[in-house]
Symmetry: C2
Subunit: 323 residues, 2 copies
C-alpha cells in the first residue's frame, strides 16, 4: 500500500464490534455495494480532474443517504428520540474548514459543513442556528421524519431497555454508556472520506449521527477539526471513527499530521502510533482512514472491524469489513 498514487479516495463507514458471525451474506452484500457506490462517485470526480473536496462530499453524501450507516438517513436516535447529527470538512489546500453540530433537519450534514466553510466567516455552527444558516444558503432541509429508520428505532428501544437495567448497577458515569457488545458498532458509527486529487490537493470529510441514546447535547469528535477530521496538503487527510471522547482528548486527526510533519514519520508509522499505541493503551476504540500527499493510504483500526475501502488511480480498488 506504500506505492505512490497520483490520486485516490479512501472511505470508512464506521468502526466497532463488527463480527462475521453477526453479519449475514445479504447484508454484507448491501454494505459492499453501497461502499462501492460511494467510492465510485468520488473516484469519478477525481478522474475527471475534479477536486478532492468535491470527491469527499460526493462519497459522504452517498453514505449519508443510505440507512446502512450512522449518518444522515440512518442516524441513530438520541435519548430524546431524535437524530442529532454532526459533520465537518477540511480543505488541505487552503486549510479552510467547516462544521455543523447537533443538527436535526439538514438532509446532508456534510454539505452544510461545506457551506459553512465556503459561505460563512466561521468554522463551527451548531443547533438551530446552523439550520437557519443552511436554510438561508439554500441547503436542503427535511422534516425530521426523513431520518426515521425502523431498524435504528428498534435498536434504540432495545438499548434504552438494556440501559434501564444497567443503570441500577452502574456508577455515576455509567448512565450514558452502553457497554453491550452487539451495539458497539452502532455506538461508534460514523462515515468519512479522504481524497487526493490530480492537482495534489487533499480533503477530508466526516459525518455522523453520534452515539445511540446520547443525552445532554453530547457532541463527539466528528465536527471537531483536529479531532475527527483534518487535512493539510503538506502532510495528509484524515477522517476518524470511534469512541469520540478519546479522539477529542487525543486530538487524533491532527496528531497523525503532526507526527508526519514534526517527526518525519511515514503515514503508516503515524497512524500506527496513534491508533495502535496511544489510543489502544487508553482503551480508546476506533479507527481512521488517511491518505497522504503522495497518495499512500492507511485504514487502521483497533476494533473488530471497520467498513472501509479505497479506489486509487488505474481503478485499483478494495473494500473490507472485518479484520
Amino acid at each position: 500500500m506504500n506505492n505512490n498514487h497520483k490520486y485516490g479516495i479512501v472511505l470508512h463507514g464506521g468502526a466497532g464490534t463488527i463480527l462475521r458471525e453477526n453479519m449475514n451474506e445479504e447484508l454484507e452484500k448491501l454494505y459492499i455495494k453501497k461502499l462501492q457506490e460511494a467510492l465510485d462517485s468520488g473516484y469519478a470526480i477525481l478522474e475527471k480532474n475534479g477536486s478532492a473536496l468535491d470527491a469527499v462530499t460526493a462519497a459522504v453524501n452517498v453514505m449519508e443517504n443510505s440507512p446502512l450507516f450512522n449518518a444522515g438517513k440512518g442516524s441513530v436516535f438520541s435519548a430524546a428520540g431524535k437524530n442529532e447529527m454532526d459533520a465537518s470538512i477540511m480543505d488541505g489546500h487552503t486549510l479552510q474548514a467547516g462544521a455543523v453540530a447537533s443538527v436535526t433537519k439538514i438532509k446532508n450534514p456534510i454539505t452544510a459543513a461545506r457551506c459553512v466553510m465556503e459561505k460563512s466567516a466561521h468554522v463551527l455552527l451548531i443547533g438551530t442556528g446552523a439550520e437557519e444558516f443552511a436554510k438561508e444558503k439554500g441547503i436542503e432541509l427535511v422534516d425530521e421524519s426523513y431520518f426515521f429508520d425502523e431498524m435504528r428505532w428498534k435498536q434504540f428501544q432495545k438499548i434504552k431497555e438494556i440501559q434501564k437495567i444497567q443503570l441500577d448497577h452502574s456508577d455515576d458515569k455509567g448512565e450514558m454508556i452502553n457497554p453491550e457488545e452487539p451495539f458497539k458498532d452502532e455506538k461508534f458509527g460514523t462515515v468519512g472520506a479522504v481524497a487526493l486529487d490530480k492537482h495534489g490537493n487533499l480533503a477530508a470529510g466526516t459525518s455522523t449521527g453520534g452515539m445511540t441514546n446520547k443525552k445532554f447535547g453530547r457532541v463527539g469528535d466528528s465536527p471537531i477539526i483536529g479531532a475527527g477530521n483534518y487535512a493539510n496538503n503538506t502532510t495528509c487527510a484524515v477522517s476518524c471513527t470511534g469512541h469520540g471522547e478519546y479522539f477529542i482528548r487525543n486530538v487524533v486527526a491532527y496528531d497523525v499530521a503532526a507526527l508526519m510533519n514534526y517527526k518525519n514519520y511515514s503515514l503508516q508509522e503515524a497512524c500506527n502510533e496513534v491508533i495502535n499505541t496511544k489510543l489502544k493503551q487508553q482503551g480508546g476504540e476506533g479507527g481512521l482512514i488517511a491518505i497522504d500527499k503522495n497518495g499512500n493510504i492507511q485504514m487502521p483500526f483497533n476494533t473488530k472491524g471497520m467498513y472501509r475501502g479505497y479506489k486509487l488511480q488505474n481503478n485499483q480498488t478494495g473494500i473490507f469489513i472485518f479484520e
Copy 2:
C-alpha cells in the same frame, strides 16, 4: 522567564486591539485589580498544595464573575441579544477534559465544563442539553438577566448599527464580521488560566462569551480541546484567546504541545512558532498563555495588547495589558 519554577499560575483576560490611548487610568486600575485577584485566588490554592485544576477553576471563576471580561457575567451579546457562552478545561495528569458550548443559563461555564469532565462520560455537551446536565449535577444556573451588562449592551447596539451600514458594502462572507478597530478587543474577549501545581500536574481552563453579534450558533475555539485549550503533563498547559476560527483550523493549543513533544522545541520556541509565525502569516490575530512542566511560562500575542499576568512560587508576580 525561563527559570524553573516549581508551581505557578498564568492567566489572560483576552487579546485584541487594546490601546493605551483608549484606556483611562481608572479602568486600567480595575483591570489590574481584578487580574491580581484572579491570580491570588489560584496561587493560594497552589501554595497550600492544592491542584492545578482547582487553581485554574478558581482563577477563571473570578474573571467570569467580573463584568470587565467577556466570559460569564460581562459576556458579549449574540445577534439574538443573548449571552451564549463556551468553556473548556483539561487535566494534564489524566488527559481528561470537559467542555460546554452555547450555554445561556450557567453562571460559571468553566465550573460546568469541569463537571462534564468529572461527572459524565463525555467531553463536550452543548446548548440546553448541557444546561440540563449541569442542573442535574447541582451546578448554579441563573436567570439570563444575570449576564446583562449595560456596557456590553451599548456595545452590541453600536456594533449592530455599524454592521448594518457595512452590510451594504460587504461580500457574502462579511455579514458576521465586524472589522471596526475599536471593538476588536471585545470580539476576541476570552479568559483563561493555566497552572502547574506542587505535584507536577498541569491544567488549563478557558471561558468566553464569544464574538459580539455572532449568529447561527457560531462556536469558536474556547470549548474545543486542542484548539483553544490543552494540557498534558508531559509538555505544557495552554489557553488561547483570539480570532477563534484561526485557532480551530490551526489546532493551536495542541500544536504548541506537539512542537515540544515531537520537535523538542522549548515552550518559548513552540509559542513563537505558532503565534508569531503560523498565525501571523495567516492574519490570525490573538495570543495564548502557557506554562510547561518545568514551570517556564509564556504569554505571546500578535495583537496590540492582551490582559495577562502570572504568579509563580515565592510570590513572583507580574500583570500586563499592553505590548
